[in-house]
Symmetry: C2
Subunit: 467 residues, 2 copies
């Protein structure tokens, strides 16, 4: 009468998954996730081959997946983001087929329109009832929002919920409801809550970072967008978080009542909500446990699907109403194209996530990046990989000045009026080269390691091996 | 930048609706709804013809629609329920094509699987923001749950939200979100909240009704289902509500902790929630303002889509987990088939609503009906219209005894053990005839007035004209 099956193996058998099948995972448990490895190990031991893995992001905790690639269990990876360790392993070329990089908004769009269909979605659920109603807000492995799992649940042929907190039917207020779920499996642990907080989710203390952050906040003020009704997203990098802090200070000082904060949400955004800077938070993913606590307890902190966050094919998404987004970069070129996929050696160590989605949607997309990192210039002639097209990027903030996209002369004028040092991006490139010299450019090999699929489904760029 | 258009006419023009198009409405404002008439008047004045109207239910307030049928603006009606006045008008035969009666669970299933596609959904929204996020929980015309509008919003080609409470973006906690909405129209009033409460939503004071209600509660107790974890739905009829009250008394007295109450929800179910009889309410539709207040304020009172309530094609729905449902009938025949579509004159005055969905899902589907009404027998040889198939009905409770479906001998035995007077349904038929005599049976004409589409999409019965 209910959907609980005794073992993961039984659920897989019941799902009808076959060799060559397409399976999916969400990444809300981030570097604390146990579900992907657990499932892949079971699939490998059952003898599956040629599987396509569509995971909304992949972290170092998922390195065992590399062995499954080597063994032929997995022959395709579709993802929005890979962590440094995982990306480095992929960059060795273990996968014959190029990695398919989507964006956080493009991924659900592609699932929904059939470009990347899913046979079986494996959904780690911090709490689930016996009929498959699930939430990420409660349970020992609570991750908060489950926004990236909605499309998988709604459009996969079969859906298996994997939980370490099975509760009686009906779970009130599910994020994903029983109408989409086929089987429920109860396991000891779906993840390590400590690992949910991963990556750079602390404000920078680096003086260069703080200079950029303060400049960014002043530029936002000068843009004219920082007024009542202001909406805002910031990534989880140290300098962007510091900039958010400066923005918060201005909002409080000037009594500016914003409308919403958006995105992957950190405790810093929760602080802004609680300080009255926003009417609500629109949360597709919690980056830390303070955000998890907030989404559980504060009705103004609202879980949204990845479609509502950023899908380009939804009738609208939150990013379409965004005023300002603050983003990072591993490289920016003189046409404002941004690379967030590869490091300075051309190795994969990131991905678009919501980068290009928010840049496309926001009235002002602002990149914060130092001129150089580890004696390598960040502002370059041509990015090694185009993650976010320059025509969607408005402003680049560095420690030596702010460049405004020439397509936005009115914005450049406003920033100058606001006392911001606006410079040509070519000057920033020169300054970067003066700091670091002109490094020998990476030489592309012939092998395609990854396709960068833009949010609308078109091929934006490719990542090649480096000679 | 937002989706607000100045007038309904402009929204209709933008929607691309054409003659012969298929439009839809929800009925959460019940007999207080202004939206359907407002839209139809506009469409008529714009010269539209041959429209198909898919309305989850139709009330007497919608009688102007009859004129639009007569004028050829509307040539098809798809609905789950018609009120007495509206049904009587339809029974005059104004519509050439038979009315297509669906069920509350079958309707979204048919929309989703493409049997009844929708070109433009007109969704009355008690509150909406400028991008189309909507809720029924707040606003001067609050109706509570908007469960029946989900499928329309998710699957219609174009969606027009019509609201009398337009709020800034983003509305926190929307029921239906912006990803589905094309246009937003602000109007003075979408309905009369007083009209939301309509039909029989008060406990009966009729002695016969009270006898049946008490018997029903005793039978539920005797069935063995009334224990911790009990789940329960009751219609909004006077006798079924009285039975719910008796069930509540038993639960409180015996300290039974149920799991969930379900359905169209009345204040009586809210009382049961608040008294600790249930862990939560699963609410597809609020029948009164006490339910509206509760769903707004109590997180245990949960809005669900019609799919999650009752869709037969969802991977599961709440009705599949239901222990007991109490239902009414205008006729029950000796094979336990139930008519809730026509009155004793064969005129349309109802519809399945969730009747056949819950009967199919519940472990025990119990009909409460007196032997006779207005000197006409209710228990008959053959129902004039089969709304709910007898093989999904378990028990018939009358004032002269309880009949159990012969397919459930173990249930009959349990009821007898519990002191219930269990009789053969033929005896109830005889008793009804003794009370009323054998009325001349209605003679069917040749004209099909309505098709009764069962929840799985098959044709269950037809309503013919009466000679």
């Amino acid at each position: 009468m209910d959907k609980v099956v005794k073992t993961l193996r039984e659920a897989i058998q019941l799902s009808g998954l076959k060799d060559g099948g397409r399976i999916s995972f969400h990444h809300h448990l981030r570097n604390g996730d146990y579900v992907l490895n657990m499932v892949m190990e079971e699939l490998a031991s059952m003898g599956f081959k040629n599987l396509s893995v569509n995971a909304s992001s992949l972290f170092d905790c998922h390195l065992p997946l590399i062995d499954h690639i080597k063994n032929g269990v997995v022959t395709e990876i579709i993802t929005d983001y890979v962590s440094g360790g995982f990306g480095a392993a992929l960059s060795e070329g273990v996968l014959e087929k190029p990695v398919q990089f989507y964006t956080h908004g493009g991924r659900p769009a592609a699932i929904i329109n059939g470009s990347t269909p899913i046979d079986v979605a494996f959904i780690g659920a911090p709490t689930a009832d016996t009929m498959g109603n699930m939430t990420g807000k409660i349970g020992k492995s609570a991750c908060g929002s489950m926004g990236y799992a909605y499309a998988d649940a709604m459009y996969a042929e079969k859906v298996i919920a994997i939980t370490d907190n099975l509760v009686p039917y009906p779970l009130p207020m599910p994020s994903i409801d029983e109408t989409y779920v086929d089987y429920v499996v109860s396991v000891d642990e779906i993840g390590n809550p400590a690992g949910i907080v991963s990556g750079t989710t602390k404000i920078t203390r680096d003086p260069v970072g703080l200079v950029m952050a303060e400049t960014a906040a002043k530029a936002i003020k000068a843009s004219g967008l920082l007024k009542d009704g202001f909406s805002f997203q910031t990534g989880a990098g140290g300098a962007t978080l510091a900039a958010a802090q400066f923005v918060k200070d201005i909002m409080i000082k000037e009594n500016i009542k914003g409308s919403f904060g958006c995105g992957g949400v950190t405790g810093y955004m929760v602080d802004m909500l609680n300080a009255g800077c926003f009417e609500s938070l629109v949360d597709v993913q919690c980056f830390d446990l303070k955000a998890v606590e907030s989404i559980r307890t504060n009705p103004k902190h609202v879980e949204v699907s990845a479609m509502r966050y950023a899908s380009p094919f939804a009738k609208s998404a939150a990013v379409d109403s965004l005023d300002v987004v603050l983003l990072g970069a591993t490289e920016v070129d003189v046409d404002f194209n941004v690379n967030v996929h590869t490091d300075s050696n051309g190795r994969m160590m990131g991905g678009s996530g919501g980068h290009s989605d928010t840049a496309a949607g926001a009235k002002m997309a602002m990149i914060i990046a130092p001129l150089s990192r580890a004696r390598l210039p960040i502002v370059t002639e041509r990015v090694f990989c185009k993650s976010t097209p320059g025509n969607t990027v408005d402003v680049l903030v560095t420690q030596k000045g702010v460049a405004v996209n020439p397509a936005r002369p009115e914005l450049a004028a406003a920033l100058k009026d606001g006392g911001i040092k606006v410079v040509d991006i070519q000057e920033l490139k020169k300054a970067a080269e003066q700091l670091c010299g002109s490094p020998k450019p990476l030489v592309r090999g012939d092998r395609v390691l990854a396709d960068i699929i833009y949010r609308d489904g078109t091929l934006l760029d490719r990542i090649y091996n480096v000679k």
